[in-house]
């Protein structure tokens, strides 16, 4: 295989793993909780900021990777208990309220930044050479972390007692509250968990991208489309959806212009979603 082909395959894997990692948190909050969370991008951003600050003041991005899910998870818990929980019965309200939260977070960061954007160095900056192609190790780390994370969460949700309780609660809140599980804290905990995952994703991917206020917002539309293609109500669907738009996008990007590729993917996704008959987005009230 030529180095170009190796790089081509690597790009497809890398771009899809990045999008899947970004979508994992959303798969929990939008996919399973069915909260149309417009501030998901800003949760990613908050994770990236946490990592950036740790890198800058502690000189160690590893601490940032550890702290980001904790900080963003707690923030998510706070959000859920103060605001989000009011909107479970009102999906449009949830959309608008979380849009407002995202706006506030984004603009707050903008006023604090002294440059248009800040680069963040990856904790591992070296590359390995395979077949003549030099591949950044950090991207490989992201691939494995994404895979492990997706498998682990899937396992917890399907096989463990806790996971089953969570799924039962989200599927039928009335039933479970009778059986003694606190629905209130189950929802809060799940939202916090989804936030923590997004925060972690932000910390992981910011070295590949760059820290700027629209980091999350610019990724948001693709993230949403991934979730909607995958369908709501379960965890794995959105991840499959992410792969389903990232892989063709990355392959198309190699042969035609990335501009056309991106528009084409969004366009096809809209049409695909129209005829995919599941989730609260399709019918039902």
């Amino acid at each position: 295989m030529s180095p170009t082909m190796i790089r081509g395959i690597f790009d497809v894997l890398s771009l899809s793993s990045v999008l899947i990692l970004l979508v994992i948190g959303m798969a929990i909050i939008v996919g399973m909780m069915k909260v149309f969370n417009m501030c998901q991008g800003e949760l990613v951003l908050l994770g990236a900021v946490t990592a950036f600050l740790c890198g800058k003041y502690l000189g160690n991005l590893w601490i940032g990777l550890l702290l980001a899910p904790i900080v963003v998870g707690l923030f998510g818990l706070l959000l859920e208990r103060t605001i989000i929980h009011r909107f479970y019965v009102n999906p449009q309200g949830a959309l608008l309220a979380t849009f407002a939260i995202g706006l506030v977070m984004r603009e707050s960061l903008r006023t604090r930044m002294s440059t248009q954007s800040s680069p963040v160095d990856a904790p591992i900056q070296s590359s390995i050479t395979i077949g003549g192609a030099s591949l950044p190790i950090w991207r490989i780390v992201i691939m494995f972390v994404t895979l492990l994370l997706a498998l682990a969460i899937g396992f917890v949700l399907i096989k463990t007692n806790l996971g089953m309780k969570v799924r039962a609660t989200l599927d039928n809140p009335d039933l479970v509250s009778v059986s003694g599980i606190s629905t209130k804290w189950m929802y809060a905990g799940t939202y916090a968990f989804g936030s923590a995952l997004s925060g972690f994703a932000g910390a992981m991917i910011v070295p590949l991208q760059t820290l700027y206020p629209n980091l999350g917002y610019d990724n948001l539309i693709l993230m949403f489309i991934a979730v909607m293609i995958g369908g709501l109500g379960q965890f794995a669907g959105p991840l499959a959806g992410a792969a389903l738009i990232a892989v063709p996008g990355a392959i198309l990007g190699q042969f035609i212009s990335p501009v056309t590729g991106q528009i084409l993917v969004v366009f096809l996704a809209i049409i695909f979603m129209r005829f995919r008959p599941v989730g609260i987005f399709q019918g039902g009230r």
Binding site: F36, L95, S108, I221, I270, I280, F281, R285
Partner: protein, 299 residues
């Protein structure tokens, strides 16, 4: 007002945005079509007029508006049929698709050379009416006022007709409406087409009165801002959103000077507080206060 061109231009712009707000209010506020990308149609009208006036000698505002309205309505029809024919789709799906359309439009306006590759189309000439140039701020104001007034009157007539009741029925419970025998998809498509034509005519007016069009005109920022005006003003009322638009634009101008970087944050907080405490919009505040007074009085 004639003495101050700047103020006249601000009012003109508010009237033009008012047309856009009416189109969102008819869709979302009255019929429950959660359009999150109405600016795409606004931009469409603007770019159509921009292209025509800069590539030909046509400047007659009547013809320009007509073309914009037709193009907007046809586009609205295509999107409407895609979204609403056949099986029902959820309101959030509509929101995401319209948002994505707005995103694609902004992207195309940035890419396509014929659309100015991001710089937009400058140098749009003053419009003419019966061969006479409308070349002053006051003239443009009257033009916008007339079109806005027609749009508003049409909207009032529609909302207060039997069809307005039908629109509300589709908004409040579209499945129930189907069981009464309403052609739900035709109602939604009809409203969407009318709203698209309104938005496009607003865009056309924007193009001739400002003399330029740019990608942000069809983009996410304007799309979401329009929804914000409707939320803050109270969806389901025709005048609430218009009041919110006027109020916010006026405050916006002051605040951009006074607290430039804090202003967007304050807008976000205002929206959040409204969503939590006054889900029917700021204009519902007096009624809400009255109600709570009554409650305390009776208890």
């Amino acid at each position: 007002m004639a003495g101050n061109d700047y103020l006249t231009q601000i009012v003109t712009r508010i009237l033009i945005y008012g047309i856009l707000v009416l189109s969102v209010e008819l869709c979302w506020g009255q019929t429950g079509i959660f359009t999150f990308g109405q600016a795409a149609l606004f931009g469409l009208g603007g770019y159509v007029v921009g292209l025509i006036t800069t590539k030909s000698t046509l400047t007659d505002i009547g013809i320009l508006l007509l073309i914009a309205i037709v193009v907007g309505a046809v586009t609205g029809l295509i999107i409407g049929i895609f979204l609403f024919s056949g099986k029902r789709v959820g309101e959030l799906y509509v929101a995401l698709v319209t948002l994505a359309i707005s995103y694609i439009c902004e992207r195309l306006a940035n890419s396509w050379t014929v659309l100015g590759s991001g710089n937009g189309i400058p140098g749009i000439p003053y419009p003419t009416i019966f061969g006479k140039e409308i070349g002053s701020a006051t003239g443009l104001f009257f033009l916008a006022f007339v079109v806005f007034a027609i749009a508003l009157i049409l909207s009032i007539i529609i909302v207060n007709s039997q069809f307005g009741l039908t629109m509300n029925a589709v908004r409040d419970d579209e499945e129930r409406a189907e069981f009464f025998g309403y052609q739900r998809s035709i109602v939604q498509i009809a409203v969407f087409v009318f709203a698209a034509a309104l938005a496009a005519s607003g865009g056309a007016l924007f193009a001739v009165s400002e003399g330029f069009v740019s990608p942000s005109m069809s983009g996410l920022a304007l799309s979401t801002t329009t929804v914000l005006w409707v939320v803050l003003g109270g969806r389901g009322t025709l005048f609430g959103p218009l009041i919110a638009l006027t109020f916010l634009e006026a405050v916006n101008i002051k605040m951009q000077e006074a607290l430039p970087s804090l202003w967007p944050i304050l807008v976000g907080l205002l929206l959040l507080i409204t969503m939590i405490f006054l889900p029917k919009g700021l204009t519902s505040m007096p009624a809400k206060i009255r109600e709570s007074r009554r409650k305390t009085a009776s208890s």
